[in-house]
C-alpha cells in the first residue's frame, strides 16, 4: 500500500459487518487520499455497497474505526456524514420521485428568504448545477417524470453539491450512456483538482482505467489488495476480483444472420401516441436485436409498448404464421410467450420482501395460474438451479431478495424470466450493475438462449456489448426508430453516427 | 302551507325511528311541509341544520337536541330571525326565552319510576341489582342512572353491585350481561336487572336464558322506553316492567305551534309527556299489537 506521511483523508480500519447468514465485511481496511479517484472493485456481493454504507453511517458497523484526517469519527446517519463533508450516491437511485428536480437537489439546504424558501432561487441554482452535467431539463417538474438515467445524473449532481471533502459514487454510471459518462467524468476530474477524495464503484473496467488513480479490490467481504491503477493491467485486475482467470472476454464481432426464414414476430406500424412513434420490426427465431440510443430516446418505451405495459394504439403484431397477437397487457404478452426484464429493478422488478425462490417462481406461477401451485420442491430446485447457473450470491434460496446486492438482484430478475422459457425475451439494460465475471456469463447465456431458438430484444447503453451479441441493432432517437444496422455494419462507430445524425435516415 | 324544519339526532334506535315516523305522520295530517334533517348523532350537524333552516327561512323549527349544552348562539340566531323553536324529548340548558316550548319526558323521573317499581316489587326483600347503562356520557344514561339511584337511596335491602355500559344496543346488552352472570356466581348472586333501555334488556334476557336461568323470575327485569319487543318478552313472562317514553312528541309540539301561530298563545315552557309504567298486569300482548306498526 502506498502510505504517505501525511494522514489519509478518509480511512477505514478493520471494518466488519455481519448480516444473518452472511459476513458482508470482514476487517476491511481502506484509505482514501485527498485529490485522488479511488476505485472500489469486486464481484457482485463482494461488500462494496456495504462498506460505503458503513463509512457513511447508513449501517451500524459491527467493528472497526473510521478516521477522517486521522481523527476517529463515528457518523451515525447520513446526515452526520454530510456534516463531515462526505457526499454519497448510493447504488439505487435514492431521490424522491414526488418532489421536483430542484427540490431534490436542494433538500435540506434550500435557499431561504425571511425563513421562506425562495422557489426562484432554488430553481435557478438547480439549473446551474445540472448544466455542469449537460442536462437542460425543466427543474420544476417532478422527478418521476424523468427516466432512471436522468435521475441518476441528478443524484450525482446532488452528491457533488453536498460533498466538501469526499464524494462517494456507488455504480453511478450503470445506466448512463457514453456522453453522460463523459460529463460525469469531467465533473469528477475537476473535483479531484479541487482536492476532494472520490470513491468510485463500477463494473466497467474501461471506466476504471480511464478515471481512477488507485484501485482497491474486495472479495467475499475481505480486502484482496490495493494498487495504483497505472501499475495494474486488466487481466490481473479481473484475476484479483474473481480469484480466478476469466476464460475469455467475449468479443465476436459481426454475427451471421440467424437462420433466415419465417420471422417469429412481426410488428407493423406499432406505436403509442406520446410514447413511441410507430415502428416496423420483425424478429427471427434465435435472433438478438439490440436497441441503441441516447438517454430518454425511447428505448424503454419501445419495450414497454411491445410488452403491453403501455398498450399500443396503432399498428399490430403478428406471429410468424400470421395470427394477430393481442398485446393489451403484460398478461397478454406473457401468454403470447413474451418475457420482459425491466430496467428499473427497484420499482418494476424485484418483490423485495419475497424470497429469492419466490421471486424466481413468480412469473411462471402467474402464468400457470394461482390454482396450480408449483410445489415447494420444484420451486426450490428451480431456484437452486439458477442460483448455480447465474452464480447468484446468496446463502440460500430463502433470503428476501431485497437483501441481496444490486447485481445479484438483477440476476434474480433474469432467472425469473428464464424459468418461464419465453420464445421472445426483452431485456432492458440486463447487465446493469453486473460484475465482469457475471457479465461474461450473461452474454454467454444470451448467446446460448438464441442458439436454442429464443428471440431476444436487448436494450443497452453499452455499445460494445451490443456489438458483441447483436445480429441486428435498432437505433432510436427522439422516439423514432431511425436506423437499423446488420451484420458487419454493427460497429460502435456506426451506432454513434446513427445516434448523432442530424437527419433521420430511412429505416431499411 | 307552513314549512317546519325538523332536526333529528339520527336513527340510532327503534324508538328514535318511531319518533321520526310519528313526526312525519303528524306533519302530514296537519298539512305541514316538514323539512327533515338527520344529524347522524352529531351536534355539529344539528347546528348546521338549524343554520340552514334559518337561511332557508322556515316558519318554525323542531329539534331533538343530542346534548343539553351548546345551543345558545344558534338559538339566538333563530330568535333574531323570528323563527320559533320547539325542543323535542330532550332539554337544553339555554335560557328558556330562546325557545317556544319543550316537549318531552323527565329522564330522571323515568329512572325513578323504574326504581320505585323495583322497591315496591321487592317489598323489603334483599336484592342485588345489576345495571346496564346507556352510552357513556349521554344524557339519558346519566339521568336514568341518577333517577334510579334516587329511588333506591336509603333502601338497605337493594344493592347496586355492578354497572357497565351496554351502549343502548342489544348486542352489547347481551355481552355485558353474560359477563355479569359469570362474575356473579353464574347469576345466582343477581336478583334484578335494570337496563337504561329496552333493547339492552332484550339482549340481556337472552343471555340470562342461555345461562340456564329464568328471566322475569330468577332475575327481575325492568327497563325503559316501552318498545314493542319488550312487550313480547313481558307476555312471555321474561320481563317484568318497562317505563314508557312516548315517541309521539310531535303531536303536542304541533298543537302548541298552531296555537302560537294563530293568536300568539304562549305555551308552557315544558310540556311533559307521561312516563307510564307498564307491568305484566297491563296485558302486554295487546300493547304489543297496538305498538308494532308504529315504526319502532
Amino acid at each position: 500500500m502506498p502510505q504517505s506521511d501525511s494522514q489519509p483523508l478518509l480511512r477505514a480500519r478493520g471494518v466488519s459487518k455481519v448480516f444473518p447468514g452472511t459476513i458482508a465485511l470482514d476487517g476491511v481496511d481502506f484509505s482514501l487520499e485527498a485529490g485522488e479517484v479511488h476505485a472500489l472493485l469486486g464481484e457482485n456481493g463482494a461488500g462494496k455497497s456495504t462498506l460505503i454504507k458503513c463509512l457513511t453511517g447508513a449501517y451500524r458497523r459491527d467493528g472497526g474505526d473510521i478516521l477522517l484526517h486521522g481523527e476517529i469519527i463515528d457518523p451515525k446517519c447520513t446526515i452526520d456524514a454530510q456534516g463531515y463533508g462526505i457526499g454519497t450516491v448510493y447504488q439505487e437511485v435514492n431521490l424522491l420521485p414526488n418532489l421536483t428536480v430542484a427540490e431534490n437537489l436542494s433538500l435540506g439546504h434550500q435557499p431561504t428568504r425571511f425563513g421562506m424558501i425562495s422557489t426562484r432561487a432554488m430553481n435557478r441554482g438547480a439549473r446551474e448545477v445540472l448544466s455542469q452535467f449537460g442536462l437542460d431539463i425543466d427543474v420544476s417538474r417532478s422527478l418521476e417524470s424523468y427516466s432512471v438515467a436522468v435521475q441518476q445524473v441528478i443524484a450525482i449532481a446532488r452528491a457533488v453539491t453536498l460533498s466538501g471533502k469526499v464524494l462517494i459514487l456507488d455504480e453511478p454510471t450503470a445506466s448512463l450512456d457514453s456522453k453522460e459518462v463523459e460529463l460525469v467524468f469531467d465533473v469528477v476530474r475537476s473535483l479531484r483538482q479541487r482536492g476532494l477524495g472520490i470513491v468510485f464503484i463500477s463494473h466497467f473496467l474501461d471506466q476504471i482505467f480511464e478515471i481512477t488513480d488507485r484501485v482497491t479490490v474486495l472479495r467475499n467481504g475481505r480486502l484482496v489488495g490495493s494498487e495504483t491503477t497505472s501499475d495494474i493491467d486488466r487481466v490481473r485486475l479481473v484475476n484479483l476480483m474473481l480469484g480466478r482467470e476469466l476464460e475469455q472476454e467475449v468479443r465476436s464481432h459481426g454475427k451471421t444472420h440467424a437462420a433466415a426464414g419465417e420471422p417469429r414476430l412481426t410488428f407493423t406500424g406499432f406505436g403509442r401516441k406520446g410514447r413511441i412513434e410507430p415502428f416496423d420490426l420483425s424478429i427471427q427465431p434465435g435472433e438478438v436485436v439490440g436497441v441503441a440510443g441516447l438517454l430518454g430516446s425511447g428505448r424503454t418505451e419501445t419495450a414497454e409498448v411491445m410488452f403491453g405495459v403501455a398498450p399500443h394504439d396503432s399498428g399490430e403484431a403478428r406471429r410468424g404464421d400470421g395470427t394477430v397477437l393481442n398485446l393489451a397487457s403484460p398478461r397478454d404478452a406473457i401468454a403470447a410467450g413474451f418475457g420482459f426484464c425491466p430496467e428499473d429493478r427497484k420499482t418494476d422488478g424485484v418483490i423485495a420482501d419475497l424470497t429469492v425462490r419466490e421471486n424466481i417462481a413468480l412469473a411462471l406461477q402467474a402464468r400457470i395460474g394461482w390454482m396450480r401451485r408449483i410445489p415447494d420442491r420444484e420451486q426450490r430446485a428451480m431456484a437452486n438451479d439458477y442460483i448455480r447457473k447465474l452464480d447468484i450470491r446468496t446463502p440460500d434460496a430463502e433470503k428476501p431478495v431485497g437483501l441481496l446486492s444490486g447485481g445479484n438482484q438483477q440476476k434474480v430478475m433474469l432467472a425469473r424470466w428464464l424459468v418461464t422459457n419465453p420464445s421472445f425475451l426483452i431485456l432492458d439494460e440486463p447487465t446493469r450493475g453486473i460484475d465482469v465475471g457475471a457479465h461474461a456469463e450473461i452474454i454467454r447465456l444470451i448467446e446460448d438462449l438464441c442458439k436454442q431458438g429464443m428471440s431476444l430484444l436487448v436494450i443497452s447503453s453499452e455499445l460494445d456489448e451490443l456489438v458483441a451479441y447483436s445480429h441486428r441493432v435498432i437505433v432510436v432517437r427522439d422516439r423514432h426508430h431511425v436506423a437499423e444496422l446488420t451484420g458487419g455494419d454493427i460497429t460502435t462507430d456506426n451506432m454513434v453516427r446513427a445516434i448523432a445524425a442530424p437527419e433521420r435516415e430511412a429505416i431499411s | 302551507a307552513q314549512t317546519v324544519g325538523f332536526s333529528q339526532i339520527g336513527s340510532e334506535s327503534g324508538w328514535r325511528a318511531a319518533e321520526t315516523t310519528l313526526t312525519l305522520q303528524q306533519a302530514k295530517e296537519r298539512g305541514i311541509d316538514l323539512k327533515f334533517a338527520d344529524a347522524q348523532q352529531k351536534q355539529e350537524n344539528q347546528i348546521k341544520a338549524l343554520r340552514s333552516f334559518i337561511a332557508q327561512g322556515v316558519d318554525a323549527i323542531l329539534i331533538a337536541p343530542v346534548v343539553a349544552t351548546g345551543w345558545d348562539s344558534v338559538l339566538e340566531e333563530a330568535k333574531e330571525a323570528e323563527i320559533p323553536v320547539i325542543l323535542l324529548d330532550r332539554m337544553v340548558d339555554s335560557s328558556d326565552d330562546l325557545y317556544l316550548t319543550a316537549v318531552g319526558s323527565d329522564l330522571v323521573h323515568e329512572g325513578s319510576v323504574a326504581g320505585q317499581w323495583l322497591v315496591d316489587e321487592l317489598a323489603g326483600k334483599d336484592c342485588n341489582v345489576v345495571e346496564l347503562q346507556g352510552t357513556t356520557g349521554s344524557s339519558p344514561a346519566i339521568d336514568r342512572k341518577n333517577g334510579f339511584e334516587q329511588a333506591i337511596a336509603g333502601k338497605d335491602n337493594i344493592k347496586l353491585i355492578r354497572s357497565q355500559t351496554g351502549d343502548f344496543t342489544r348486542t352489547k346488552g347481551k355481552e355485558v350481561m353474560e359477563s355479569f352472570l359469570k362474575a356473579e356466581d353464574g347469576g345466582k348472586n343477581i336478583c334484578a336487572l335494570y337496563a337504561h333501555n329496552d333493547d339492552m334488556a332484550v339482549g340481556a334476557i337472552q343471555a340470562i336464558k342461555e345461562a340456564g336461568l329464568k328471566p322475569g323470575s330468577d332475575i327481575l327485569v325492568v327497563s325503559i322506553d316501552a318498545v314493542p319487543d319488550i312487550f313480547q318478552a313481558m307476555a312471555a313472562g321474561e320481563a317484568n316492567a318497562t317505563v314508557e317514553l312516548t315517541p309521539n312528541m310531535a303531536g303536542p309540539a304541533f298543537d302548541a305551534l298552531e296555537a302560537f301561530m294563530k293568536d300568539g298563545t304562549m305555551p308552557p315552557k315544558f310540556i311533559q309527556t307521561e312516563s307510564k309504567l307498564y307491568t305484566q298486569a297491563d296485558d302486554p300482548q295487546a300493547v304489543y299489537e297496538q305498538k308494532k306498526d308504529l315504526g319502532y
Binding site: 405495459v309 403484460p330 | 336513527s11 355500559t165 355485558v176
Partner: protein, 342 residues
Amino acid sequence: MNGLMLFMRRIWPQLLTLAVIVGLISIMFPGFFQISIANGRLYGSPIDILNRGAPVALLAIGMTLVIATRGIDLSVGAVMAICGAVAAWGITEGYGLFATLAMALAAGLACGLWNGVLVAILGIQPIVATLILMVAGRGIAQLITEGAILTFNHEGLIFFGSGSVFTIPTPVIIGVLTGAIITLIVRRSALGMLIEAIGINLRASTLAGVNTRVLLIAVYMTSGLCAALAGIIAAADIRGADANNAGLWLELDAILAVVIGGTSLLGGRFSLIASLIGALIIQAVNTGILLSGFPPEFNLIIKAVIILIILVLQSPTMRTVAVFFSKDPVGASDKEKETVAP
C-alpha cells in the same frame, strides 16, 4: 418439522400475549376457568371470549388478506349490518333458511365486489373507496330494516348465533372453519404468495404477469364474505337485525387484530392464524374489562393502555432490544432490515 418451527416462531409473541392477558384476568377473577355445560352448550368465560370474538375474528380473516395487498377495508362493519339486515328480512319474508343465507352471503360478496372494483379498476385509494361503503352501507342496511330492529324467531337462523354443535357454540365453529378453509386455500394454492407479491410491489407484480386486478377484487370479495358471515352471526345472536349498531366500529377492532397479529399495514407477508389470535387477544381484553367491574368511563383508557403495551412490546425496536439482552448475535442485526433498505 422445519415448517412448524418457523410457524411457531412467527406466532409465539401473539400466543404469549394472549396467555399473559388470560393469566391476568384469572388472577383478577379466579372463577375464570370454570367451564360447565348449560343448555347443551359449553358455558364459561373462556367460551365467551371465543364466542364473542368470533365476529371480529371473521372480519380479521378478510381484513388480513386485504391488508396484505396493502389495502384496508373500513366497510366491514357496515357490510355486517347490511348482511344481517338481508338475513333478517329474508327470513321474515319467508324465503326459507337456505335462500336467506344465500342472499345474505351474496350481499356480502356484492359489497366486496363494489369495493374491489373501486380499488382495482377505478384506482381509488382503499381507505377512501371503502369509506364510501362505510358511510352508505349503514344507510342501505337501514333501508332494509326501515330503521327499526327487525326481529325474527326462526330457529334455524338463530342457530347460527346461539346454537351449538357438540356443545361448541356455532359462531366459534364458523370462525374456526372459515379460518381453516381460507388458510388452506391461500397456502395450498399460490394465492398467498401472489397476494403478498401484490402488497409488496403492485407494479412489479403486474409486470410479472400476475393478474392483479382480479386478485384484488377477489380479496375484497373475500372480506365481504367474511363480513357477511359475521353479520349473520351478529343478527342471529340477538334474534334481530340492528342496522344502526351491528358491527359499529368493529372495523377498527378487526384492523387492530390484524396488526396485533403482526401483519404490516404496509402489505406483504401475512399470517391468518396470528390475526385470529389477535382477535382473541382483543376480545380477552374486552371481556376482562367487563369482568373487572371498573366503572365504564375507564373502559377506553384501560383498553388504550393495554393495546399500547402490547404493540410496544411487539414493535420491531423492542424485539431488537429483547434479542440484544439475550445476546443473540444473529438476531441482533435483525433491525437493520427494517431501518435500512435503500
